[in-house]
Amino acid sequence: MEQSHALHIENHGGGKKEIINVTIILSVLTIIELALGFWLMSITNETIRLTIKGVIVILMLSKAFYIVAYFMHLKHEIRNMIMTIVVPLLLFVWFIIAFLTDGNSYKNLRNTYDPYKKERSTEKVEKKEAVKEIKKAE
């Protein structure tokens, strides 16, 4: 215990100034995300929508980096420690690509080979039901 405490003092990091900087960065990133979210509402072009969503995901990942690196202090730990946390998380790269591709492929296969399902999923339904539910709440 004595030793781990003594060792701990070595890796303090930037202190209060760093905390304030990271807070500002996180707030700014969140505001940009929200601005993009508002912008997204007025856009109908699918390509532009996907691009904005991609930018939002990149901003999300950079927020995650700042929280883990500075608030959770990982950046100031030694290399062994960083690797034991980050390397297992690389599984997510495979995880995300494999599953999202699979989902997309399932949709395409079903739309190609199941005309009934395709017809039903493109049928517009009356908003009546939803309106009724909202009225009930009010």
């Binding site: 890796n11 995650a64 929280i67 997309n104 079903r110």
Partner: protein, 226 residues
């Protein structure tokens, strides 16, 4: 040959010390958080898979467009959830400040910032409780989805099932985080850490709390923004 060059640096794997240069409890907290990250990751990726396999999905800006005491007929997408996001970010900041106070053995700073963090956590939970109640009144719950897809076609219950399961699981984490922080506050007030000579326990609670904030970054983006 290599021994002469290595001897200048610390030999982390030669025994007698933690090769990760952290205390046991903190390392175990990190490993727990990895497992928790995979649980949340599995939830979110499952949500993504279903969304990618669906031909339509409800527009989050139409579903989440309300806030408490809103004037009748108003439409305010993203407003309430941005407030929730900022509450959680700020509570994360006060948690860092509590950990920082612990490093300096400053009991007063630890107590103040822990109380602020707990209040932030409770505020977030209240917001979520309001949102769930509001959605429930609109007819949304597990197995029931009153919202249509963005293109006006019939939506499945996948949308509400995933929303309530994932935000519920996250809300439960916030709740346990608040409980952990209350325990930390009581221990600090009883001078437990003062007597122990260090505030390392606050760091472990802090790691958990930041993780909760981290998960919200992903949940917020996946459900409300995209």
């Amino acid at each position: 040959m290599s021994t002469t060059t290595v001897s200048a640096t610390t030999k982390w794997w030669s025994g007698g010390k933690s090769p990760f240069n952290v205390e046991y409890g903190k390392l175990m907290m990190w490993y727990f958080l990895i497992s928790d990250a995979f649980t949340f990751g599995a939830f979110l990726i499952s949500y993504g898979t279903i969304r990618f396999s669906s031909t339509g999905w409800p527009d989050p800006n139409k579903v989440f467009s309300s806030y408490p005491f809103m004037p009748e007929g108003a439409h305010a997408p993203l407003v309430f959830v941005s407030i929730m996001t900022f509450i959680l970010i700020l509570s994360s900041v006060t948690m860092v400040l509590a950990v920082h106070g612990g490093h300096q053995m400053n009991k007063k700073a630890v107590v103040t910032n822990l109380i602020l963090t707990i209040l932030g956590g409770l505020a977030f939970l209240s917001c979520q409780a309001w949102e769930w109640t509001h959605l429930h009144h609109e007819g949304a719950w597990w197995g029931s989805n009153p919202f249509l897809n963005a293109d006006g076609t019939q939506s499945s219950t996948n949308f509400t099932n995933y929303f309530f399961t994932i935000t519920g699981f996250h809300g439960f984490h916030v709740f346990s985080g608040v409980i952990i922080n209350i325990v930390m506050l009581i221990m600090t007030l009883n001078n437990v850490f003062e007597k122990r000579g260090h505030y390392l326990m606050i760091e472990k609670a802090g790691l958990y709390w930041h993780f909760v904030d981290l998960v919200w970054v992903f949940v917020f983006t996946c459900f409300y923004l995209i």
